[in-house]
């Protein structure tokens, strides 16, 4: 997340700041098969990080420590992350607006 995600995020912004040619190079790289794997992987990594962070927010306020509750959310969090990843890419595919 921190290394690959931020690297590509900065590449994207830097490419736009540098002009259309650099942006075309970025779009080319991200629409290759490897590019799609990286982008879907990053989407998944982001949502997993987000769900895990939200779960720990709840634990930090002192809630959800009962064994059943804790166990339930430890399993639900990564599953919700996968559902969100599928939802985002499903939206992109269904709308047909992928680059």
């Amino acid at each position: 997340m921190a290394l690959v995600g931020l690297g590509i995020f900065v590449w994207w912004l830097g490419a736009m700041g540098s002009g259309p040619e650099a942006y075309e190079t970025f779009v080319w790289a991200m629409t290759t098969p490897v590019g799609y794997i990286v982008m879907v992987g990053l989407t998944w990594a982001f949502f997993t990080h987000m769900m895990s962070g939200l779960r720990h927010f709840v634990l930090d306020i002192g809630a959800g420590y009962e064994l059943d509750t804790n166990r339930l959310w430890s399993m639900l969090s990564p599953v919700i992350a996968i559902i969100l990843t599928v939802a985002v890419w499903g939206f992109i595919l269904v709308r047909g607006g992928a680059v």
Binding site: A2, L6, F9, V10, L13, G17, P20, Y23, L54, I92
Partner: protein, 128 residues
């Protein structure tokens, strides 16, 4: 470092008075990441057309540019703090730890500055 009193033996060795601040700031940046990333993902999905003109036209608007700069700031602060903890937890040699923390700070500030400049350049309409 003193070796007489018990406070003298431990002073300067730990994260006293600093650890909670680091931990809290990490959580605050997590909250701003959550808000700004939600904006970012929804905006990207609604954008639809990812041509250069369309995407830069969107980012150049004042609200998008400010949100994007805040997102860069929040993400890099959060990542820097998280990786700092990672290094402190797993790199035990003090020389390597110092070098890793120095490299992390250079990368975080360098990457963040470049990203913010790129957004500013688009927002201020520099012809590229």
């Amino acid at each position: 470092m003193g070796n007489g009193t018990s406070i003298g033996r431990v002073r300067g060795l730990g994260a006293s008075h600093e650890g909670a601040h680091h931990w809290l700031t990490h959580r605050f940046t997590a909250i701003s990441n959550l808000i700004l990333m939600s904006w970012f993902i929804v905006s990207l999905l609604l954008l639809g057309d990812y041509s250069y003109e369309n995407v830069t036209g969107w980012i150049s608007q004042p609200l998008s540019a400010v949100a994007m700069i805040l997102l860069v700031t929040s993400l890099f602060m959060h990542a820097r703090m998280g990786l700092q903890v990672l290094i402190e937890d797993y790199v035990h040699n003090s020389g390597s730890k110092f070098a890793a923390l120095a490299a992390l700070n250079i990368a975080a500030f360098g990457g963040g500055a470049f990203a913010i400049f790129s957004v500013a350049r688009l927002a201020f309409g520099v012809q590229v």
